[in-house]
């Protein structure tokens, strides 16, 4: 499965984006998000960005007020996931222009489409910013 889920959570612990690549019930999701947020947000800057949780790992990174948390299988490459998070932020930055929490809140669907371009079935499928954004811009034009 590689990537199991991607979460964006703000400093207060509110989920701003949640994308799951394996099926979980709403209750499971709620519990999982609460646990993870509690675990990760308590950590300091001096601590590493990897947390083991249940039978998988969480790789996370903080950008301003927003935490990007990615749940991955144990044999996934943590550093590559960190690069992936960075790529995601850069891509959103390019699209929204200095992306902030509000951009994601009000354009959640667009953020999801970007993710869909980048990840499929939990595999990273696209890593070029312009290729990711091309269909998004096309969609904007169409509607």
């Amino acid at each position: 499965m590689g990537i199991r889920f991607i979460l964006m959570v703000n400093k207060q612990g509110q989920t701003r984006l949640a994308q799951y690549y394996e099926y979980l019930t709403l209750e499971e999701r709620r519990a999982l998000e609460a646990e993870i947020v509690r675990k990760c947000l308590a950590r300091t800057e001096q601590q590493c960005s990897f947390v083991e949780h249940r039978n998988y790992k969480i790789v996370y990174r903080r950008y301003a007020s927003l935490f990007f948390l990615v749940g991955v299988d144990n044999d996934e490459n943590e550093l590559a996931i960190l690069e992936f998070i960075h790529l995601l932020v850069e891509t959103m930055d390019r699209h929204f222009g200095n992306v902030c929490e509000l951009d994601i809140m009000f354009h959640l669907e667009k953020a999801h489409f970007m993710l869909e371009e980048m990840v499929m079935n939990g595999c990273i499928v696209e890593t070029s910013k312009s290729s990711i954004l091309a269909p998004i811009q096309l969609m904007d034009k169409m509607s």
């Binding site: 984006l17 601590q47 943590e78 550093l79 009000f106 499928v125």
Partner: protein, 974 residues
């Protein structure tokens, strides 16, 4: 109607309104949201598609971020999917992929819509459908849409093609037969000139190979080419992951791969790729010394880096490499130990793992010393991590690395006193386990237990109660090693024991009983011996031989407690014994101490410990302390307390004449009291030992014994059991028969009349309640040989030599420098290791079987199985037919095969040869496969019996399985 929907639309809140409203709401979030949901429920039913789309848009948002169930809208989502407007379709697809599951009933309605969109000329629509399919595809959807996906795999648009590849993972998962159709095109894409396409294809293979690598060995040449040629780090990381799985299966592959991997390590500047290379080497190429050396250099660089991420990963890599190359850890010992005090708990844990990896027989003491110091300093959580790993490392494989048990037992005592210690249960388990397994250590165990028991402060910490329970039990059962039973009794009865939970208090009471019996018995013997003092002199030299003989146990005890060290501790403790009842004893203690300086006089000195007065004091003290417990609400405590009290009452009544008689008639005729005491003592001095998991199996079932399968009828039997029987029946071991000789009412009520069936069930009950004193597997403890039966014991210890050694060690193992001391005998049973059987996943079997099938190109079988399948279900056939039309090349190939199949025997050798001839260039020659077919078939039949209906496929797997193991495959590569 149109008007109303227009109005609806006009006044409908958009998602943006909703989000803004949510931020500004004053009525509370949940109230606001449930209002919004009510609104949506109404809107979603609207005939106006804008309104509907908007409602679903909002609903998806609320569902994904606020966990609202949106299954009620599933049908409306399907409705919206068929909208011609792209913006609606977009919303619908997003909602569907977010909320649909395999169980969503309306899923069956969207097959045609998906098919339509997959064949759309608008690539964005195709993309939407593919994305959605990658999330929600079910078995049916995957089967029915395989032809469309197959077509898209050859799309000229990279944008579509890469998604078609990406969706395959889910499709293969759900419908393994899709492999037969799509696999070839998937493999072709590995060599695509578009790096985006290669990237996705490699990603798919990476996932597939992680699950079941063997099937993908034949593709090694393709992967190798990518490994050498590609400059895209994302792709390289995936390929490295694939090789990490393939290499262990095919050692010669390692030879080829190791150089390119090292090349990447030297060349790359990307940390992620570097780390992947490191991981590949440590997991799969650890036999290549040069590669490991190179990697360890890189790990070292990461270890000393300021970035905590690199440090953490480096520690992880080290712990992977540790089992094979411990030198790599030892080289970095300082950094690892320093990391124990890192700010990051994760890093601390990793370094703890590594420290434990370095533990060996020779350094276990020093490392544990360091760790305990760290434990004292750290936060409760990490402290317990440390203690836990010390316990598990030291206890692993029946204390394999422990030589000096004296040290280990006192370490356990020390660990119990660490303020944050919460490992009570594990320490308890080990204390008792060691007590039973390692005979020589019992005196030390009793000493450690005593130190724990006499400290009233420890009773206040609930985490320690389990440890105290073990300590109480140990000092009761091995009371003969106690230096000062009076002091022990005092500790067992101290007022603060009220803080203990009832089941542990019961253990305390029972131990007190054992101590009473021991003291009385020792006193009696000593009276007897006083009369014939030559008896003792004769006994002392023989001590080791008598260790396990229960008739004169005190002689060995005396020998065990004659070391001056113990007496000094005693001296230190004496002032703390505040109890008035022992005041009379104090002078005697002092005398004893001076006397014990000389070892020879040891026995005579302790003899003075048991005076008539002290015994009476002891009994009074016990009576005083336990009397209130007869009002206890806990049955265990009540029962046990009454046992002791009745016993004491009985003894006290007989005591005077027993003494008189003793003094007069030199113990020739024993008084009833001493008889009772002796019998009780014998009952308690039987040794407990570990019981093997398989012990019960070895007991032959007696002829004519029929064991009931379930125990339902026990209820009726139990009603009979309640009646006291005058003629008590033994449990089958002699000491119980002895006990039955006298009639203590309470004791009798504990014994159970009736056949052994009931007694075992009662034992089971007892076991349930007091599980900790049973070894995990013993179903029936009366099969354990009576401990004092020397012959039997020798049997359990595999031979008499052990016993000899044991007794020899008893002499030698007095205080001596640690390393000179030989390791005591640790009783080990064959059942101590548990092995777990893994059961393979059937579905994965199916998928990988199909993959192998396709990779090794047995087209005959594949078509024959296809047609077999298609005759079974008409829907499937529809898909298949279409497929043959779609794929020109395939159908051409298939045509001949189908004809052959129609002629009859699809599995004939001929057709097999034929198919092999057509196969991929690097696959093994067909003959080899044929030769081994007979063998393979047998093997295969075992593994794939789960789908016996696919006979044809089974056959197809045969040559292929053989091939995967024979040197045939990577001949292109090697």
């Amino acid at each position: 109607m149109a008007g109303s929907s227009l109005m609806e639309n006009l006044f409908q809140r958009t998602l943006e309104d909703l989000i803004k409203g949510l931020r500004l709401q004053l009525i509370g979030e949940s109230a606001f949201l449930s209002k919004a949901i009510d609104e949506i429920r109404r809107e979603v039913k609207s005939t106006d598609s804008d309104t509907k789309a908007n409602a679903i848009h909002k609903l998806t948002y609320l569902s994904s971020l606020h966990f609202y169930d949106m299954s009620f809208a599933a049908f409306h989502v399907v409705e919206l999917l068929s909208s011609t407007r792209f913006s609606h379709k977009k919303i619908a697809y997003h909602a569907a992929s977010h909320s649909f599951t395999d169980d969503t009933p309306v899923l069956v309605l969207i097959t045609n819509q998906l098919r339509k969109d997959l064949t759309s000329t608008n690539e964005l629509e195709v993309s939407l459908a593919l994305e959605c399919l990658s999330r929600i595809a079910t078995v049916d959807l995957a089967r029915d849409l395989t032809p469309e996906i197959f077509t898209l795999l050859a799309s000229s648009k990279v944008f579509v093609k890469k998604k078609a590849i990406g969706v395959l993972l889910r499709v293969f998962d759900k419908y393994p037969d899709a492999v037969r159709v799509c696999f070839k095109r998937l493999v072709e894409n590995l060599e695509s000139s578009e790096s985006q396409v290669v990237s996705v294809a490699v990603g798919v293979f990476c996932e597939l190979a992680l699950r079941e690598p063997r099937s993908y060995l034949p593709l090694a040449p393709e992967f190798y080419k990518i490994l050498v040629d590609s400059r895209n780090n994302w792709i390289l990381i995936k390929v490295l992951k694939i090789f990490a799985k393939l290499v262990p299966l095919e050692p010669r592959l390692a030879n080829r791969v190791v150089e390119p991997v090292c090349e990447h390590i030297r060349r790359t500047g990307a940390k992620s790729l570097l780390f992947e290379c490191i991981r590949t080497v440590v997991t799969s190429l650890s036999d290549y010394e040069s590669a490991v050396k190179l990697v360890v250099v890189k790990i070292r660089e990461m270890l000393v880096d300021d970035d905590p991420n690199l440090k953490y990963l480096a520690l992880q890599a080290l712990s992977v490499v540790a089992p094979k190359h411990l030198w790599a850890v030892l080289e970095n010992k300082e950094v690892v130990i320093k990391s124990l005090s890192d700010v990051d708990p994760n890093i601390k844990l990793e370094s703890l793992c590594l420290v434990m990896a370095m533990v060996s027989e020779s350094n276990v003491a020093e490392i544990c010393r360091v760790l305990v110091n760290y434990a004292l300093k750290s936060d409760p959580e990490f402290c317990n991590e440390i203690l836990g790993s010390i316990l598990s490392t030291c206890g692993s494989n029946v204390y394999e690395i422990i030589i000096d048990f004296d040290w280990y037992v006192s370490l356990l005592g020390e660990m119990s006193r660490i303020p944050h210690c919460q490992k009570g249960e594990e320490i308890e388990k080990q204390l008792i386990d060691i007590g039973m397994r390692v005979k020589d250590i019992r005196p030390e165990l009793v000493r450690v237990s005593r130190d724990l028991l006499i400290d009233p402060a420890l009773l206040g910490n609930p985490f320690l109660h389990r440890i105290l329970s073990a300590a109480a039990w140990l000092s009761g059962i091995y009371v003969e090693f106690s230096i000062n039973p009076f002091e022990l009794m005092e500790a067992l009865l101290q007022p603060r024991t009220t803080l203990l939970p009832p089941f542990i208090r019961a253990v305390y009471v029972q131990s007190a009983f054992k101590v009473v019996i021991f003291c009385l018995n020792a006193y009696l013997l000593q009276r007897g011996n006083a009369a014939s003092s030559s008896y003792i002199d004769k006994l002392v030299p023989d001590v080791p031989g008598l260790v396990s003989e229960c008739d004169e146990p005190e002689s060995s005890d005396l020998a065990s407690c004659d070391s001056p060290v113990h007496c000094k501790q005693d001296e230190g403790f004496n002032p703390r014994v505040l109890n008035q009842s022992f005041e009379g004893l104090l002078p005697e203690h002092c005398g004893e101490e001076t006397a014990t300086r000389g070892q020879v006089s040891a026995s005579s000195s302790l003899k003075d410990g048991f005076t008539h007065e002290s015994i009476i004091n002891l009994l009074n003290r016990v009576e005083l302390a336990l009397a209130p417990l007869t009002g206890s609400y806990d049955v265990e405590i009540l029962e046990r307390a009454r046992n002791i009290l009745c016993f004491i009452e009985l003894i006290k009544r007989k005591m005077p004449d027993c003494l008189v008689q003793k003094e007069e008639s030199l113990g020739r005729e024993e008084a009833p009291a001493s008889q009772i005491i002796r019998l009780m003592h014998n009952a308690f001095s039987n040794d407990l030992g570990p019981v093997s998991v398989s012990a019960q199996e070895r007991v032959p079932v007696p002829d004519g014994l029929v064991l009931a399968k379930n125990l339902e009828d026990l209820e009726t039997i139990f009603s009979d059991v309640q009646l006291p029987s005058s003629n008590s029946v033994s449990l089958g071991s002699p000491q119980y028969e002895d006990r039955a000789g006298f009639s203590l009412p309470i004791l009798q009520s504990k014994e159970e009349p009736g056949p052994s069936n009931e007694s075992t069930s009662l034992l089971a009950d007892h076991r349930k309640q007091h599980g900790l004193y049973y070894l995990p597997s013993a179903k029936n403890e009366d099969e354990y040989p009576p401990a004092n039966d020397l012959k039997l014991q020798a049997d359990t210890n595999d031979g008499d030599e052990d016993l000899v050694k044991l007794t020899e060690q008893f002499l030698v193992s007095k205080k001596k420098p640690n390393h000179a001391k030989p390791r005591p005998v640790v009783v080990k049973l064959d059942g101590d290791q548990v092995h777990i059987a893994a059961n393979p996943d059937r579905k994965e079997d199916l998928l990988s079987g199909t993959v192998r099938d396709v990779l090794l190109g047995s087209d005959t079988n594949h078509t024959s199985s296809q047609s077999k399948v298609s005759t079974k279900s008409s829907t499937q056939r529809k898909g298949k037919d279409k497929l043959n039309v779609d794929s020109v090349t395939e159908s051409k190939e298939n045509l001949g095969d189908i004809e052959k199949h129609d002629q009859g025997n699809p599995s004939s050798r001929k057709s097999k040869h034929h198919s092999h001839g057509k196969g991929r260039r690097h696959k093994s020659p067909g003959k080899k496969g044929d030769e081994r077919e007979e063998n393979g078939q047998k093997v295969k039949q075992k593994s794939s019996h789960s789908h016996s209906k696919h006979k044809a496929r089974q056959r197809a797997e045969v040559p292929l399985n053989v091939v995967a193991l024979t040197p045939g495959i990577p001949d292109f590569l090697l």
